[in-house]
Symmetry: C3
Subunit: 138 residues, 3 copies
């Protein structure tokens, strides 16, 4: 059995957005008990991540790390048509995930206790993002 | 239904190689309408990436970024038997993807408008690379 | 057909742990000939990686690289409740993989000659880790 749907997420600019609840609800209403839940973000300047879901400082520290590794406006970048965060957004996407697979067990995503599923917006301005969900199994 | 095939790609050395058309053709001829298209590269010094497909400057900037983060011949590396790009190729692979899953919808890979599927050769000399494609679904 | 099981791995602290043999055995005893073998680590401070399996210097060099990119105790990190390796472990996980898909072909994981499947413990102290395996196909 395969169920496919698309989420639309409006971001307020750079930062992480917790999709865990939405994804769990889609899995629960799919009727699939054992299998796989796949997420795919249809963009190259935002990405997906499974990360610690308890302390907001983790997300702030991840942003700090990325800002140091891939600084906006770095003069080494030549793809700057959309501004100083344009190429850094592609690099951040390349270093993280465009797709994620989470196992489905007992009718739910088998996430660990401290795991959440996040969309990571890498552009500084608000964007509309599409995430395709494919749930398959028995 | 599951279809599996292997692509062989001859690279001319370091750089990115667009596989999007080949992958789309394999999906279209698979007869699978809804499901998943999985790519797996059977090497540890080349990788897979979904990235912006319009401006070649993006690929050049990604190379520039990697060259700064993981310089060839960095004296910290001890695994140097195959030359100064040997260990950097493994690090670049570790930071990117060995496998990718792209959802299949309406008989095609549901890539976003600006997304392409790339093989990224990390060795400086030409190599023959094998990518296994597994298309599954209904 | 879908088979799911959980591995428990006791780590001795930071370092890589080869899961290739365990995974191959699970695939062989699953009775699945063609399909997909999915691994998912239910933690955010340890990750999964496919990497070169022949020269132990590769793993040492990967550790050296990560130690330079994401130093323990870096003053930029504020999430430090569990010590100087707490936030670096989350960053290392973010830069690598929480899940992996390896194609199954002829009843085995279709790994390349030099590919191994590794758990990468990022915390310095020993931990008990859970990896969920989902093998699907025909």
């Amino acid at each position: 059995m395969i169920k496919q749907e698309e989420f639309r997420i409006s971001t307020a600019g750079r930062g992480t957005y917790d999709l865990s609840r939405q994804v769990q609800q889609a899995v629960m209403s799919s009727g699939i008990s054992t299998g796989m839940c796949h997420l795919f973000i249809r963009h190259t300047s935002a990405s997906l991540m499974i990360c610690e879901n308890a302390d907001p400082a983790v997300m702030r520290d991840l942003e700090t790390f990325m800002a140091r590794q891939v600084p906006d406006g770095d003069p080494m970048f030549t793809h700057i048509a959309e501004g100083p965060d344009d190429m850094p957004a592609h690099v951040r996407s390349m270093l993280t995930q465009t797709d994620l697979n989470v196992p489905v067990s007992g009718g739910q995503c088998a996430l660990g206790t401290w795991q959440g599923i996040y969309l990571w917006e890498h552009r500084t301005s608000p964007h509309n993002r599409k995430v395709m969900l494919t749930i398959s199994g028995e």
